[in-house]
Symmetry: C2
Subunit: 164 residues, 2 copies
């Protein structure tokens, strides 16, 4: 199955597409979608939706997963991330692709076995498991790949559960 993972943001949204087959995972694509900070919030959301729509049209995707927003940090940032995540969830669901949500600690736990692993450890384990030299670009990209791996893992677990 092909899984799209998303680390949402209005300024930067990280994405990662992995293939998970027979317990083996490989990276298909990964990168960052940026919006122009000069634009209004509404116009940035239009840009973001257009870019995610292109991504979903360009690749085969069976399932998607997105990182859950935290309100604890800066109020305005949390609002912007929540708005971006709403737009992303809508455009993915509108294509008929199911989308799940995971907290950062669920992702860390699934990927590294520890919910409190730091960014460097998470990134290192993701690179190793996907057979990459390292994950380029901002942490959003590693997080997005991690979210996709987390979902693939939960999917395998629930499929095995259903069969047993």
């Amino acid at each position: 199955m092909f899984v799209l993972g998303i680390d949402p943001g209005l300024t930067r949204t990280g994405y990662g597409i992995i293939e998970s087959r027979g317990g083996r995972e490989s990276a298909i694509a990964a990168g960052v979608v940026r919006t122009d900070p000069q634009l209004t919030t509404a116009d940035r959301l239009v840009e973001l939706r257009r870019d995610i729509e292109m991504l979903v049209n360009d690749y085969t995707i069976d399932a998607a997963a997105i990182e859950q927003v935290f309100v604890n940090r800066n109020r305005n940032t949390a609002m912007a991330v929540a708005r971006a995540s709403g737009v992303i969830m809508e455009v993915i669901a509108q294509k008929g692709i199911p989308i799940a949500e995971y907290t950062p600690s669920q992702m860390k736990m699934a990927v590294t076995g520890s919910g409190s692993a730091d960014k460097k450890q998470v990134s290192a384990v993701i690179s190793m498991r996907l057979g990459l030299q390292g994950v380029d670009g901002p942490a959003d990209v590693a997080d997005a790949l991690g979210i996709a791996m987390c979902h693939a893992q939960h999917h395998v677990a629930s499929t095995l559960g259903a069969k047993s």
Copy 2:
């Protein structure tokens, strides 16, 4: 000018369209868009976007305004409202309609002259100013009409300012 006001929510989104001409305001349409609570959040956002898109296609709208989200209250509710507002802002901006944001107290101040007016007072003043017998339905409808009136008022003020 025709102004669309929005009180956003995932469960219920209030909307109101007013015409403002020569300092006189009249109500064109008002109502509530609901989403099916049985659906996933992502599918509810798809429903919401489709309904707002129909609204924007069906009426002439020159400008839009949306009520700002508060994080102070329930965290999950705030996140759901922020996601809904992101989707609404995107679909309106995508049609080329400019969209402004106002806090509840900015709206109350513009409509009643007091930022701390209660819901009943706000609703009564809105009905009176728009020449309605009363605003039917949940408070979201009155709030949406109030947001539209608030924007029309700010627009007139800024136009006069530019001319003087």
